[in-house]
Amino acid sequence: MAEQVIRVEGLKKSFGDHQVLRGIDFAANKGEVVCIIGSSGSGKSTLLRCINLLETPDEGKILYHGRDILTDERISMPQYHAKVGMVFQQFNLFGNMTALENCMTGQMKVLRRSRAQSMENAMKYLRKVGMEAYVGAKPRQLSGGQKQRVAIARALSMDPEVILFDEPTSALDPEMVGEVLSVMQNLAQEGLTMLVVTHEMGFARAVADHVVFMDQGVIAEEGAPDDVLGAPRHERLRSFLRSML
């Protein structure tokens, strides 16, 4: 059996008296691409944010290689964050830094790499996402698609084991969606473990190893893409997929 990188057990999270996650269980194996789909408000972002500890879960476990990140003293938070990268819908690049500096800061501050080493690594990944020509540009000088590619390079620069993507193409103009998806597809082929919240059903079908459909804070259906997307069993999933066409 493949090694589980991330495993979530009985995860619950409320905001006030609104229970957003009502008991989530799932796992991502090494090298797998898991696509999370579901209508707006179903708790997809909250799930990723809990895995990343941007939100503190109320109940449940988040296991990283079998160790509970909420209680296991052996896991240091900066190290965990370095191993689990995140790419946001709104890019969230550091506005005061160039593309290159965006990819270097975390390496130097968190991983304590030297400037030279950080720069070399940053350049490697900027090249991979096709942004090597813009190393000196500030975020405000880049298009949405370019920003998102830099954001992916920034996440990659930490040499993570998993990257969480929260609707990485939803804030983009349609003509820029392709450039970002093709970068992600390459990463998937290279064996990066990825958790991707997306509304791009074509991408999910082509790239995902596993698809998870979330509905009202629970996983309503999951499985191979051909099954979940091709032969949905639940009415709510069927109507969701119809609305995506």
Binding site: H81, M86, N96, K109, V135, A137, K138, R154
Partner: protein, 268 residues
């Protein structure tokens, strides 16, 4: 004795030029150091205010943080809610009569103006921090940076750039409002002018000169600040390296053009 207005101005300048100059120096010293220390106080206060009180925290740390937040709120309320001239009297005479501290007047002046400015700066800097979108905090935390690292490398550089005009405005206000500190007899410009004017009863002439000096100071400072802001924004252009083998293949993008395009879009 001179008979005309300009005659008097010349005479007074000759007589008291040195005094006015030293007063100007003192005013600048108080205003600049008061703004600088006030900025530091405001920065500290603003950073403490960005720390939240998470539920998982220990009860003692929690109580301390809550107390710090409450203290800060009181400080800001008091120093923004009373005139500096009154604060000066209370602090200077209060510490003399009840704490037995006979403060050096210059030190007292700088202290008062710093604490006063700090209360305003705290709000200004908080505004600057809030203006940096929350997503950048999250992105920094998501790559493992600590709160402190996030603040110093990502948030504050942008916050400070955004609030530079307001900070400059505080400096200008301090140059002018330090004049109220004459009530504790610190030898700043207004205090010197008062003593010079009294000798010949030439209030208008002396304060005409003083007005010109204040104006020259504030105009110069605002010019310098505008220059600094421009410098901090960095070059308007950036270069796209077109091809790594051919360095001539460059595209220079001009920010003014971009901004023009932005404006056109916004005005639609």
């Amino acid at each position: 004795m001179p008979t005309t207005f300009f005659g008097w101005v010349g005479f007074l300048l000759e007589q008291y030029g040195g005094l006015f100059l030293s007063g100007t120096g003192m005013t600048l010293l108080i205003a600049l150091s008061g703004t600088a220390f006030g900025f530091l106080i405001g920065l500290l206060v603003a950073i403490v205010r960005t720390l939240d009180v998470p539920r998982g925290m220990g009860p003692i740390k929690r109580a301390l943080r809550k107390a710090a937040h409450a203290l800060i709120a009181v400080y800001i309320q008091i120093f923004r809610g009373t005139p500096m001239i009154v604060q000066a009297m209370v602090i200077y005479y209060g510490s003399m009569q009840y704490l037995g501290i006979d403060m050096d007047r210059t030190v007292a002046a700088i202290l008062i103006i710093s604490i006063n400015t700090g209360a305003y700066m705290a709000e200004i800097i908080r505004g600057g921090i809030v203006s940096v979108d929350r997503g950048q905090f999250e992105a920094a935390h998501a790559i493992g940076m600590t709160h402190w690292q996030t603040m110093t490398t990502v948030v504050l550089p942008q916050a400070i750039r955004n609030i530079l005009p307001s900070v400059g405005n505080e400096l200008i206000v301090n140059i002018k409002d330090s004049s109220v500190l004459n009530v504790i007899s610190v030898s700043e410009l207004f205090f010197q002018a008062k003593s010079a004017a009294g000798t010949y009863y030439k209030y208008f002439e002396v304060f005409f000169i003083i007005a010109c000096i204040y104006l020259a100071l504030t105009v110069t400072v605002s010019r310098v600040l505008r220059y600094v802001e421009k410098r901090m924004d960095g070059p308007d252009n950036y270069v796209i390296c077109g091809s790594q083998s051919d360095s001539r293949a460059e595209i220079v993008v001009n920010r003014e053009q971009e901004e023009e395009v932005d404006r056109q879009w916004q005005s639609r």
